[in-house]
Symmetry: C2
Subunit: 157 residues, 2 copies
DNA sequence: ACATTCCATACTATTTTAGTCAAGATATAT
DNA sequence: ATATATCTTGACTAAAATAGTATGGAATGT
């Protein structure tokens, strides 16, 4: 079972994308600023997300990343898998051979747990998260900072 | 979220204990042999399990470890927690402060996931596992080897 | 031309894992 | 008493993973 900052960052970044990708592509620099994730690290994560065809990209000014499918069609588990964090709690990877080519005493337990986790994360899409009220509130707070900054920049003209 | 070989070993060893602690204490050497876990490593794990009062010990010949409570009263999650593997999927440890002292975008998601995992592992006791048929079958297989060895030793007298 | 953005690769400090090893304390059987 | 089985403690370590940083380039819009 692997669920570390890497996977959490990936989901957070994808959710940021889903929240902001109304029209124009979203540059990683924006996500980095809003979510407090190192730009270089984001680049590594998005390389994997792109290889897994969860996002597509556009280079040059005005470029950035876009979701490759509707947010409703991207379950959270797909993002985590794309990052190479598998949601498997067994030691054997489901093969049932981790002790001398036979299932260990607790194989079934970890299989059951893995299934529960998988079900949960497969049942929630980025679209579901976008429509949650607390997510919208947090996103507004994060955008608020940016908006303030833009307004101040405008007022300085 | 941490669930590694360490936690799985601990649960496996405790289940072995539950299966064999009918009367006499069970020495770690037996568990090591049956479950294929390094003896020294088991010693480290049982030091923690003892500090958490999940097991008690008896030294000297005929000594070993015993469950400190009925198997039915030891949920799997207690074993994992005793080993210092917490079943928390958040980054903030539930505090909701992982981004600039405010909850990050995905805080609720990881909270929900943590709760699911905890519920699952708290709802299964060692006693439950002992009474599962596939666990009994695997245990019989493991004991089978030992029994054969004992029989051969006897027949050589 | 130039700034912006993605793209790719290599590097690294720190931490964790999954142990090993050594020395000792304690209880039991003979 | 002595030998042996067993727990108890602490130090040590090789290998892997994490969470990044650093550097340089390639494409694209203005
Ligand atoms: S976890 Fe699957 S066989 Fe041990
Ligand atoms: S995971 Fe709780 S605030 Fe980010």
């Amino acid at each position: 079972m692997k669920l570390t900052t890497k996977g959490r960052y990936a989901v957070t970044a994808m959710l940021d994308l889903a929240l902001h990708a109304k029209d124009a592509p979203v540059p990683l620099a924006d996500i980095s600023r809003r979510q407090g994730i190192s730009l270089s690290y984001l680049e590594q994560l998005f390389a994997k997300l792109r290889r897994n065809e969860l996002v597509n990209s556009a280079r040059g000014p005005g470029g950035g990343y876009r979701l490759n499918r509707a947010a409703e069609d991207i379950p959270v588990v797909a993002v985590i898998n794309a990052i190479n964090e598998n949601v498997d709690a067994t030691r054997c990877g489901g093969l049932g051979n981790c002790q001398d080519n036979e299932p260990c005493l607790t194989h079934e337990l970890w299989m059951d747990l893995s299934e529960r986790i998988h079900e949960f994360l497969a049942g929630i899409s980025l679209g579901d998260l976008v429509s949650r009220r607390e997510v919208q509130a947090i996103s507004a707070r994060q955008d608020g900072r940016v908006v303030e900054r833009v307004l101040m920049a405008d007022s300085s003209l």
